[in-house]
Subunit: 482 residues, 2 copies
């Protein structure tokens, strides 16, 4: 096992944890980072540390980390910056292995803070402690159900999110949770005084339960190492990046936000492209694209077929072509075969295929998608979510024919079952777009998601997701030829 | 009153309506277009017409529209295409004024259908009937609570949506409803055999309750008239367009979808830019941008100031600059004034201004935004939603200090009240971006929205909305100088 894995396991899978600066005052960080793990499933030992307290949140509290009876893997430090060197010394004496340094007031505040930060790094390094931060908002690790970053525990999942912005990162993660995206890890990296993005990526590369790594970065420390680690990691799993500071005024803002020098965006963009990092134009797209990369096979090429309804298919195709995906015309034999599967008034199927708003079953749609995936000149399919007439069940109930409802349910189950099996059967990905407004009621979307087929609200999200798959597939092919 | 207003009022504000082809069979259009207005608030008389029925959905049914005792303003026709000429003849005899022709099987199917369509147009024109469609999915008109397009009634609002795709249009409208966007009108325009997009826009230009017009179009019939009508309408209200078929494969798809010839996208793009139509790159953005144009004053220029938190502010600024908005540095006096309003460790305020995740009240934030709006070199502000500590009230409750909760609520109310008054006070717009995941619980967002300040999930949506305001402001200024 590489040493980084062993070291960072103490931070992300600690058997015990002390909260230094723990507090009963709900307005303080020392309260939040103690209260959150207590209520969101962390199973290890938790020790509050505070010079005053005897009991905090009902737990016995210690005056110093050194007074804790058992071993302490991880400390979370929220004390004022000036006290952190002394605290770190005590942690070294105690034999602590890792730290999350929430406290602010270090390099981000200028010269004196920078010196203080260097002092803390020196103490930690000499004492064998690796640490996250300072000036960060904490972590979430599904491996240990360890959460000190969020009010509620995130949904566990396969995406690891490394964020250089605490507030914005945790907002994106919260918004992702409302959309059903699960998180394997969240790391608010802060000033990266000790551990840097490259370290986290190297660690996550070894974590088999992390299937995709997403990044919000404003600048990169030690660019060469960052790109080297990314290159190695990309052999195993995709990395998707949103980089803040791509504009002149944005770069100026990153300087005062995280003291990052955003550097030339063109140079950075070229490096990303060469390596095959997937770069998002918009912040939240890192989640949307990651979702497709979790459960779908990588497409053999960039030639897509589309099953969609009217303007939706048009918008999918426009978005695909903007992103450089190809939409081949279908051959005559396939076109004739598909025409026989569509209602008479539907447009002649070339690409897209369109049921023209007519009655069809999920089985009909699965058959069309299967026909498309079989083609040797098609590398993946973008499809509307298979039809689910039970969304209108209020009306169908009116018919007073329970046997009809049962029959429809059977067709839905059968079609969706077939549909969900197609990506594995043909080794080609499917991405789906919704066409009913109220997603929460759509059991078909839920089934697709569970089977690893990503479902999106808009045609453009869907096309971007497929583009992410194509980009990463090309990286992996390059790797295999190298 | 222009003749188009009078004619189209019969369609969008009918006193009485007949459904021709009405049916008790829930799977039929003739059922849906009767059932929907019955259950979603239409107050006028509704007459089912069907050669067989005596009662449909509990209403007395007529064998012919001519048998209906009272006058009939509007007919909704769902009979097979071949019967439509005869039906239209009867409508003329009855003195019907307008029609929505749901039936498909006309020009979209080729030569014979095209002829049939021409025949219907001839009969209607000779008889003084204007009509929507054929091959469309119906309309929603808030003015008459008239809905035959949606399963549930849309939320009434100030956006009118003209869509060349029925299914995709109604999906977008449904999704908009889940996000709280209200609709004044929805028109599924179908084949535009009689009434065209230009006619609807001309009508909506005269409707004072329509504050923004959004379009999903694949092609334009009679481009000169379309652009002339847009030019006139833009003097009164904004038009936001998503055009399908901007790519080669997309254009091919529109041809088989609505027989639209998408034409050269560059020519079209240039015409839009010259006129000042706001063109969306992605489909759902037509709604997002429209939202900002409903309730905000038009900015005097394109110079924006940003109040945001960390990476959020960076992403806002990057997105603004991509769209050509300017982010001026703040002058020294203002910068010093703002610094005094921020916590000591916050970065020196230039632009963006950032509270650096510290404690502040909504009043503090309103004061910062007001300071920015006062500047003669700032034309609008993009801000995070003012802070609402009551989102954490579960924790605040724990304090057992109800007087503290009251005090916080007072500060929130005061700050949000001040904030909501700023756009009018300074004649400059504000757009807000959320920074809490669970929007449904955020009463502050709701208050802002009610006051006309649009609230978005992502920094990029917010920047696009501001760009829409800037684009439309420039159109109006050009108009004033012409």
């Amino acid at each position: 096992m590489s040493s980084i894995v062993k070291q960072l396991d103490y931070i992300f899978k600690p058997a015990s944890m002390a909260i230094i600066g723990a507090s009963d005052n709900v307005a303080k960080w020392g309260h939040m980072v103690l209260d959150r793990p207590l209520h969101t499933g962390y199973k290890g030992a938790i020790y509050p540390v505070n010079p005053q307290g005897t009991k905090i949140l009902g737990l016995p509290s210690y005056r110093s980390v050194k007074d804790i009876p058992g071993p302490v893997d991880l400390v979370v430090i929220t004390t004022p910056a000036s006290r952190v060197p002394a605290v770190m010394h005590e942690c070294v004496e105690k034999g602590v292995k890792g730290a999350v340094l929430i406290s602010a007031g270090f390099a981000e505040t200028g010269g004196a803070g920078k010196k203080l930060q260097e002092e803390v790094v020196k103490i930690a390094r000499a004492g064998g402690i690796r640490f996250v931060g300072p000036n960060c908002m904490g972590i979430w690790s599904a491996a240990a159900s360890l959460n000190n970053a969020f009010e509620s525990a995130p949904k566990p999942g396969e995406i690891a999110f490394i964020s250089q912005s605490g507030t914005f990162g945790s907002y994106m993660a919260e918004m992702a949770a409302t959309k059903g995206y699960g998180l394997r890890m969240f790391i608010s990296i802060g000033n990266q005084a000790d551990l840097t993005t490259a370290d986290y990526i190297e660690y996550l590369a070894h974590d088999d339960d992390t299937k995709a790594i997403i990044l919000y970065l404003e600048g990169v420390k030690d660019g060469r190492r960052f790109f080297d680690v990314c290159k190695e990691t990309l052999k195993k799993k995709p990395i998707i990046l949103y980089k803040g500071g791509s504009s002149a005024a944005g770069a100026r803002a990153t300087l005062s936000h995280t003291a990052s020098i955003a550097g030339s965006d063109i140079v950075f963009q070229n490096a990303c492209r060469q390596l095959g990092l997937i770069r998002s134009e918009e912040s939240f797209q890192i989640f949307e694209v990651a979702m497709a990369l979790l459960g779908q096979p990588l497409p053999p090429g960039r030639r897509m077929a589309v099953l969609g309804t009217g303007g939706q298919a048009v918008a999918i195709i426009d978005a695909c072509q903007r992103l450089g995906l190809e939409i081949p015309r279908l051959d005559k034999i396939t076109s004739a075969r598909l025409a026989a599967m569509l209602p008479a008034h539907a447009p002649h199927p070339s690409n897209p295929v369109d049921f023209a708003g007519s009655y069809r079953t999920a089985v009909d749609e699965a058959n069309v998608v299967e026909t498309l995936l079989k083609l040797d000149y098609i590398d993946g399919v973008i499809s509307n979510v298979p039809v689910n007439p039970l969304l209108w069940s209020k009306k169908l109930d009116k018919l007073g024919k329970p046997e009809l409802l049962e029959q429809i349910q059977k067709l839905v189950d059968e079609g969706v079952g077939q549909f969900c099996g197609l990506p594995r059967k043909y080794g080609k990905p499917i991405a789906c777009v919704r066409w009913h407004g109220d997603a929460s009621k759509d059991t078909v979307s839920i089934k697709l998601t569970e089977a690893g087929i990503p479902v999106y609200d808009t045609p453009e999200q869907c096309a971007r997701a497929m583009h992410g798959l194509v980009t990463y597939a090309e990286v992996r092919r390059r790797g295999n030829h190298a």
